[in-house]
């Protein structure tokens, strides 16, 4: 039973880590918490749904397409709206991205209606040694792990990735080193939106899609960042896995209904005990 929970926890944890990495990047680089992160994930899920139902694409192959589409959406949002509040007080950036999030959810409601949609591509489970491995969740896990690995390699080894990390360490020093900070901001927002969209595309195969599905993901991504430590990008991996495990344990010992309550309690406890994250990280 415990082994089953561990597996389920790791499977959903990888998705959490991937989506949260996007939020962590924007926060690290621009000090902006993007409330619209969840709704961007929702748009990614719809991209997959339409490519699957209208064009008959294999939903797993739509992941890069959804990421590319939302990369562009992210660039546009940053270029037109978000760049104006990067240096403004926190109140402005929170409210602005909140407004964007409300607008996106309601646009989706107008355009796609609030009907539940599902991508029924692959169902069932593999049974390995008495343990059930849900097929869609396992494949989604592989994709999430691959995308997250690629994102980390990009951040670690490429010039652009290094420029992003430099900007998040110190914008002034990055500027002095000749990094075009405004372009890095643009790129970061696009990349973060793409990560959210990738999460949404994978989620589309697992759960039902509807315009309000994203809201809880903004919160969960933030929780993952807090667990791992704000500004500590590998911390997102740790936080994602931890959240996945805690939620699965909660639904085993309590009920599924209360797993969100447990996640919330986790946030409150961490904020009391170790606000800089369980792994440590940049202090607030």
């Amino acid at each position: 039973m415990i082994a089953q929970v561990l597996i389920s926890g790791v499977l959903s944890g990888a998705l959490y880590a991937m989506v949260a990495l996007g939020l962590a990047l924007i926060y690290g680089v621009m000090r902006v918490i993007n409330i619209a992160h969840g709704p961007l994930l929702m748009l990614g899920a719809y991209t997959t749904y339409f490519l699957y139902s209208r064009a008959g694409m294999n939903p797993f192959l739509t992941v890069p397409v959804a990421m590319a589409v939302l990369f562009v959406v992210g660039l546009l949002l940053q270029r037109t709206l978000v760049f104006r509040v990067v240096d403004a007080p926190e109140l402005s950036s929170l409210l602005l991205t909140f407004g964007i999030s409300i607008a996106l959810v309601n646009l989706a409601q107008l355009a796609f209606t609030s009907d539940l949609r599902a991508v029924e591509f692959i169902t069932g489970a593999w049974v390995v040694g008495g343990l059930a491995l849900s097929k869609p969740r396992f494949i989604a896990f592989l994709f999430a792990a691959a995308v997250t690995t690629l994102a980390f390699l990009f951040l670690k080894f490429t010039r652009l990735g290094k420029a992003i990390r430099a900007t998040s360490q110190s914008r002034e020093v990055a500027l002095v080193c000749g990094i075009n900070v405004a372009r890095i901001h643009l790129l970061t927002f696009g990349l973060a939106s793409a990560l959210a969209a990738g999460g949404g595309a994978l989620l589309a195969v697992i759960v039902a899609i509807q315009p309000e599905m994203g809201g809880v993901w903004t919160f969960k991504s933030f929780l993952v960042i807090v667990l791992g430590g704000a500004g500590n990008y590998p911390g997102a991996l740790f936080g994602g896995l931890l959240l996945g495990l805690v939620e699965q344990l909660a639904s085993l010992f309590l009920t599924t209904q209360l797993s969100e309550v447990v996640a919330y309690l986790l946030l409150v406890v961490v904020l009391i005990v170790r606000p800089t994250g369980l792994l440590g990280g940049r202090s607030t």
Partner: protein, 309 residues
């Protein structure tokens, strides 16, 4: 043009008298709409107390409204309290919740508070569904039949006046100045010796009281509550839009925003129900970028009105 105190007070007194006698003449629809406006003034004014004054954005203020509604309804049905006392109980319940959330989250700077409030709503909804025995779960909770709309009209009106008066008292006090110092520069505020945590927490507790009472009153007035009717994100969004539109951090901004948006909503947007939440999102974006001080801010600039209104 500068306003003098006398005429302003005269107009206000006249408005109060008119609203007091209105239920004797008004139609049922008119009284109900005015009651709703009172509620929105109280809600928007309360959101303004924490977010407009300290700059700590509360994305979950509807949680206080909802918990007030449930506490009030349970006190009326299970404990048999009369509704005015139960309404106070709703306010107390909201304050207790604010203490529980504010204590860990307001000690920290940055977005922790905002996001914690964002998640709070879902948690309360889940808890209400879980404790079915007490709350009725998804089936909701019915209150005994009682036509008290007229009495609730006066109590809600008094609540709206009280929230606005408290806002005025705070903004013109040293306590309010300290809150606004936290908003402008929290580190500087600390360096000046302000106990920022305690100030934020007190402001947050006061800002939870009004929505708690308003929630209990609304529960009594409607006679039936369920999780989706008292915990919708839309209530938080509406509070935020009203305050931003009217002018955050001011006394009259929330009042102005509540009246203006409620009237617009009733007259125009009720015909296009799907477009109107979209417009709310657009209004937030537009106000943040183009007129951060809201309509009242524009009026203050144009007519040289005092900053403390």
């Amino acid at each position: 043009m500068t306003l003098t105190r006398g005429p302003v007070l005269a107009v206000l007194a006249l408005a109060v008298v008119a609203l007091c006698v209105y239920p004797a003449f008004g139609t049922g629809y008119g009284v109900r709409s005015t009651l709703q406006i009172f509620m929105w003034i109280a809600l928007a004014g309360s959101w303004n107390l924490i977010s407009g004054l300290t700059g700590y954005v509360s994305f979950g203020h509807v949680a206080f409204f909802g918990i007030g509604a449930y506490a009030g309804a349970i006190l009326i049905t299970a404990a048999g309290w009369s509704w005015p006392i139960a309404a106070l109980g709703g306010g107390v319940a909201a304050c207790v919740l604010a203490l529980v959330i504010g204590y860990p989250c307001l000690r920290l700077k940055g977005p922790y508070f905002a996001i914690s409030m964002l998640g709070l709503n879902e948690v309360l909804r889940a808890l209400v569904s879980y404790f079915e025995g007490l709350t009725g779960g998804g089936n909701g909770l019915s209150l005994p039949t009682l036509d008290a709309t007229r009495s609730i009209y006066y109590v809600m009106g008094a609540l709206a006046v009280a929230v606005t008066a408290v806002t005025y008292l705070i903004i013109t006090s040293r306590f309010g100045l300290r809150l606004m110092t936290i908003r402008e520069d929290e580190i500087a505020a600390e360096a000046m010796g302000i106990d920022t945590f305690r100030h934020k927490l007190v402001a947050f507790l006061i800002s939870a009281l009004g929505p708690g009472i308003a929630g209990a009153l609304t529960a009594r007035d409607q006679g039936y509550i369920e999780p989706i009717s008292v915990f919708p994100l839309a209530i938080t969004v509406t509070m935020i839009v009203m305050v931003l539109f009217g002018g955050k951090g001011t006394v009259w901004g929330p009042v102005l925003g509540a009246i203006a948006l409620f009237v617009i909503q009733e007259i125009v947007w009720a015909r296009y129900p799907y477009v109107h939440p979209l417009l709310f999102g657009a209004i937030i974006v537009a106000v943040v970028l183009a007129m951060p001080r809201g309509v009242l801010g524009l009026l203050q600039l144009k007519y040289r009105l005092p900053r403390t209104i």
